[in-house]
């Protein structure tokens, strides 16, 4: 497995995914949406598993310049 975070397009059906992400939040209060996002981060992080990639993902999300 590569130790490199994928930063090129990698989601098949990107628009579908984005719509599904929004739909999951439909009707939720701000508080419940925030909680859902937090759970989602943890679920996805577990799927990635690789510590090096997670560190790169944290940096990418923080909009840090690429090293």
């Amino acid at each position: 497995m590569s130790d490199q975070l994928i930063l090129s397009p990698n989601i098949t059906g990107a628009d579908d995914f984005y719509a599904e992400l929004l739909a999951t939040h439909d009707g939720l209060s701000k508080e419940d949406s925030d909680a859902l996002n937090a759970r989602l981060i943890l679920v996805l992080a577990n799927q990635i598993g690789n510590r090096a990639i997670l560190t790169q993902a944290l940096a990418a999300a923080a909009l840090k310049p690429e090293v």
Partner: protein, 536 residues
Amino acid sequence: MNKIFEVPMYPYERHADQDASAPVRHKVIVIGAGPVGLGAAIDLAQQGIEVVVLDDNDKVSFGSRAICFAKRPLEILDRLGCGTPMVDKGVQWNVGKVFFDERPVYDFNLLPEDGHEFPAFINLQQYYFEEYMVHRVRALQAEGAPIELRGRNKVSAIGTHPDHVTIEIDTPEGSYNLEADWIIACDGAGSPMRSMLGKDFVGRVFEDNFLIADVVMEADFPTERWFWFDPPFNKGQSALLHKQPDNVWRIDLQLGWDIDKEREKRPENVIPRLKAMLGDDVEFELEWVSIYTFQCRRMEQFRHNRVLFAGDAAHQVSPFGARGANSGLQDTDNLCWKLKLVIDGTAPESLLDTYDTERIYGADENILNSSRSTDFITPKSEMSRLLRDAVLDLSEHHEFARPLVNSGRLSVPCTYDGSSLNSADALNGPARSRPGSACPDVLLGDDYLLPQLADKFTLLTIDAEAPDVIEEAGITVTRLALSVKDDKTLALKDRYLGDCDSGVYLIRPDQHVAARRPSFDENQFRAAIRRASGQE
């Protein structure tokens, strides 16, 4: 009836030193008769080193205080001759349950590995712990060992010199002076010794208060550690329930920062909180109540020439993970054999600098772990609470989130990776017994391994040849010859050889591995002995 911690165990008695015309010089003076100070003194006395313990009090710990004692400290206490009574009296537990709000979300089992003489953990009130150690001091005295315990002897001043230390001591009958070749300061988190020497103690303050209550009750709760995040009876905070001997239960309730401590400690305020937790129909009696705050910090150096700091005086952690008293006992375990070699003139004083480096390494590991637990238990920002709650919610449904739940990472011994006393690992063996590790115990027939290592340098050979005794640079190393053929459980092979067919281990007096190789090589092991004793 008086409680055990209300009766003087070592009342003040006038000593001839107080009437001496000039200050009497002692080999080692230990300041503080808590678990760490008594551990140091017993260790030294067992090795024939003259030691005096001074304490400003004359009783064991007031209240239960430290209650969780882990396997490694129990192994150390066994070497000090008081592990068995503690285990016999203590409550053994393996299961921990985690609750979030009203729901049990997760439980864990420490699943202790077979072939260890001591359990993963026992719960025992610190006052019993200290009582058994004082009994051990008395037993050593009866055997003629050079150990003394002086109650109500409070150190009021200290003077340091290149080759000794002078101290002034206040007693109920006035003050007197003593000299010591070495001082071990085990006088607790608020260490007056540290202040008198003007030494730093820096780290992180956690703005939180915890109510600890010891409650005597006949309750049906199982012998488990129960931890609540945000329970209905203590909204927005945390709570802990843990069983001690004699039907005493430890209850910890997080209270938050802006509270009136004196008010919160009053029984009329404590009792309603406990009733909310336990239910109105549970009969209980309060044995002891305290409120604590905590900090995670350490001294920059534990050795200040001839004054050596150990335990809470040197480093302080949050209580989550039981890393306070447990790590203090590992301090003195690390220190005493080194001090013995230096006092005997076998090793140079610089060996004591490795006490500093090895135990600072241990303290930093404990501070890291306990700070992380604290950050999980008491989130400091809205986002850290959101993520914490997300972990707890997920842990109820999905196994993956459970390792992220952190209600305390329980104390395990530190491996001194990178210590200057280690020789390079030359055996392709299990990581758990690499140089720097505390030796894992093994049951060999009817006997356990660790007591056979005792408190001397040992050459452990497993299906390998070696001389029965090696003398090198003033150190006598005795061989302990074992074979995996004699161990049907295969634990010896599993813990010390892995895939290798043979192994030779050099083991330090504190039962940590100094070197290992597949076979005996005289030059290599002689070098390893010099290295492990700070002579190379």
